[in-house]
Amino acid sequence: MGVDCLEKEGRFYESFTYDGIEYTLYDCVYMFKEGEPEPYIGKLIGIWETADRTKKVNVQWFFRPSEILKWLGDRTPMQKEIFLATGEGIGLSNVNALEAIAGKCYVVCTSEDRRNRQPSEEETKLADYIFYRAFDVGRCTLLDNIGDSVGGLAVKYVFNREESKNMNGLQTLGSSKVDVVSNTIACKGKNKLLIPNSSEEFELLETYGHPVKSVVIKDVKGVSVESGWIPGESSDYTSGNNSSVFALTDDQKQECASGQKVKSSEVKSMMDGVKKVTNSKSRVKKKLSSDDMQDNPTKKARICNSTKPCDDKISNSAKSVLIQGDKCAFAPKEETKSKDKHLSLNRGVIGAKKGGLKDRPIGILKAGPSNKAKKVVTFNDMDAKDFIKSANHVKRTSGFVKGSELKSTSKERVHDNTRKFSNNAMSKMCAEEMDNKEMEQKIASRSNIDKGKWWTTTNKMRNASKGTTLLLWNLDPKYTSEDVKEVIDEALQTSCIAIMLPRTKISSPHSGQALLKFNNTETTERVLRKLSEGCLMLPNGRPLVATVSPPLSSAEGQCTYFGHIVIDGIRLQGDARDAVSTSHCSQPNTIEYEMAMEWCLLQMQFDRCWENLYKLHKEDMRRLKANLKSK
């Protein structure tokens, strides 16, 4: 292990290199604990060497949402969110042997505190984790605001390191203070630095990176110092602009000067290097864009799992960079995994895709090895996404060939029941013509005894005779029934009754539906025809889609509800008789509790599925809408 720098006195350090990775004070690291599935995440707040030459680090912890679930309550944490420990007590920080460190972790602070440098979107996307809240270990509460110190740590080390916005000295080209010039191309939490050495070839120096850490990069054009992580500037990057700049605080610069791997000779070659950098960047960029599509599989395979450091040292072309617009590095990661896991399934699937789904024989649905496919939906984003992909597969309407996301790595999850359902659905789907766009709807209504002046409208809807109701799709979810009615009436010269379907927890967050009722079947048919042949466009690129809705009955039918178990027996009957309203919280020592937990788990799994499904939908729409010339 190399120790790079020494402070003036004592044996405290500001940075060190361990296992080939360089760490600086206030970096975030992974600490692996035996037996724990996931490493802990901590912030280095102290590094020293004891008298007997053992190296210690003082780490202030971050909590994963799972560790503080009890105090989170209903607040769902954001994706990749972690919480910085604050307050006093056990769990704030610990001293550990340096060797317990398992890798560097890229944590971005997204707090909107004005003292915090706001990270760019790219930065946030590429970060391993984000945080903006703290958890007080003494009081076990969540703190939204960050005070002047978080668990003893000064705020400036909590927030993202200030960029050279404040540092005028770095803004000039050719400043002798600048030690290293490089491009940084990041790969999910890792920096790859291209460092010009005296021979003017580019070597890749890997550092793992919290932004604003070890290196100073000048702005090539010397105009302004950009703050941030190179990935944040990917747009600049692709436009051939200059590299972004990292600024160092003064002490760190000193460090750099004394202790970095960069040799002083490189400083001299800095000027030339700068020019070289610009050239190489455009070269790299070109190479990237051409290689991107072909290299996708390789690149994906190389996306580092953030818990273990990647150790590919690549020379200048940095093929593993995936900063290309919106195809963010994260999507491929998931796809990679699924791809690796289910390669054997893809073959059958791909065959099916090419065949055109309308004619896809049911046999292919069975083709996938069912042992793999019968996996239960586990609490894992990955599987949820796979499920969705398989669901997509099963239910795709004829002829519509989509973009890469869904196709390329979808796997067939052949579930017996799904198959049955999909068989039915498929045959129904096949039967429909593109023009009509009919959909089967299951009737499962229930009656309400409710008062409310809006109920009359609903009743009218319910009493609609056959063939006079339509379902309208692709509405902005914020519209109201009145909005819908106005639009339809004006555009189609009708007088209809419109009901905007209320949002539920499983309805799409970006698309709403409404029920329309017309006076007679002729009008309904006319409307349906007009809407399918033509395009009635609403703002934000939303053409309306109408489908036939079966007559709604206000029969005594019920929504399918599972979960209520009744046993004719002494025990339960007694309870039921005594209870006026049987509502209660279940205690952990009963069977009931276990069962309730099962339900909770199932629910959460499906929540994830829905979330992912809608995410995919949103992406689809976004891509399609991008083709619209006018909005």
């Binding site: 209903d74 795709r396 999909s422 609903t458 029934s481 979960g563 309730a596 199932l602 619209l628």
Partner: protein, 194 residues
């Protein structure tokens, strides 16, 4: 006219803050049951069942308006942390903060009408729009199939739990029988293990 629409909207929004969206309810639930159940958290002002128009992808849910936002939040937190069952054992209900779109017939946000336009067939956007329309339906079918899948999983869970419960209950009956009727501890041991 405008000010009153604004005011109405604002008032409605305030109401939304105080409302809890309760999901996964047993269809047999009545107003009274929910009221009693949630009264322990505070004052239940109003309960509105979300109308189901006979479409799929709908679950039985209710919008419960509480006295103030704090009570609403409390319910949400409590239910999030502990499985709370209302007349549906053992499936717990779920509670969320209500959103304005969850209310059927919520008042319009003051801000004018929705503009619309018929696209001309020769318009280059027409093709794109048609594609979008196709995608919309595709999405709809995907959502529908996910929902069906969810129902199936739920059914399976339900059956499985019912089985477990029945088995446990049988054991209990057996024990009951042997302990009460026959003090033979040996027989008890023999049979209760089954």
């Amino acid at each position: 006219m405008e000010p009153s629409a604004e005011a109405k909207y604002a008032a409605f929004k305030e109401k939304v803050k105080r409302t809890v969206y309760l999901e996964n309810l047993n269809p047999q639930l009545t107003d009274a049951v929910i009221r009693t159940a949630l009264n322990q958290f505070g004052n239940v002002v109003n309960i509105q069942f979300v109308p189901n128009f006979g479409l799929e992808n709908i679950r039985y849910a209710a919008l419960v308006e509480m006295g103030d936002a704090k009570q609403a939040n409390q319910i949400i937190t409590e239910i999030a942390n502990n499985p709370f069952m209302i007349s549906g054992k053992p499936r717990p209900v779920r509670a969320f903060a209500a959103e304005i779109e969850m209310f059927p017939f919520h008042p319009r946000k003051p801000g004018g009408k929705v503009p619309w336009v018929w696209l001309d067939k020769k318009d280059p956007d027409f093709e794109v729009a048609q594609k979008i329309k196709d995608t919309v339906l595709k999405h709809a079918s995907e959502a529908s199939s996910l929902f069906q899948q969810q129902l199936l999983e739920e059914e399976k869970t339900h059956k499985r739990q019912a089985e477990t419960l029945k088995a446990n209950y049988k054991k209990k009956l057996l024990r009951h029988k042997y302990v009460i009727l026959d003090k033979g501890a040996v027989k008890l041991a023999e049979h209760s293990v089954k």
